[in-house]
Symmetry: C2
Subunit: 97 residues, 2 copies
């Protein structure tokens, strides 16, 4: 089972995803992606959904037209783990961000 | 352009989508769909996205694993219109709800 990231490991992991911010109210990370239109936004979501399903690690996400707001955290671990960092990296790559 | 629903027309329209509730804070409707798993939830979203894109009328929606919380309102009209009722009906049909 994935363990919560702490200390230097966490610091290094977060440094690899500079577009993401840590939430204040929960041990989770957040990023808002803005695309050209709904086609691009939902296209991104579809590609990310396939990755998430394959890894059995899913995002919490809100889509409003061309924006996608993503929150990542690992429920089993009660906080941020390597699984979240890896999914964040994959999403950044998909978005070209 | 779609006009905001009022009076008897609005009442009749809302009666056709009993699973939806009116939001207090905005002139919009809301429904939470709960599926078996992420596969079903995102499958629903994908089918609904194709309908939304074809109609050029898009939902605001939050997906957390097997749940999809949908808010519908017509931005151009500043509130609830026939477009929202029609999209709500289509989503109910897709979800078998």
């Amino acid at each position: 089972m994935a363990v919560k990231l702490t200390g230097e490991t966490r610091k290094t992991a977060l440094a690899s995803i500079p577009g993401w911010t840590e939430l204040m109210e929960r041990d989770a990370i957040f990023r808002k992606f803005v695309f050209k239109d709904f086609n691009e936004a939902f296209g991104f979501m579809t590609r990310a959904a396939l990755i998430a399903e394959k890894r059995d690690h899913h995002p919490e996400w809100l889509n409003v037209y061309k924006t996608v707001e993503v929150t990542l955290s690992t429920h089993d671990a009660g906080g941020l783990t390597e699984k979240d960092i890896a999914l964040a990296q994959a999403m950044d790559k998909l978005a070209g961000a």
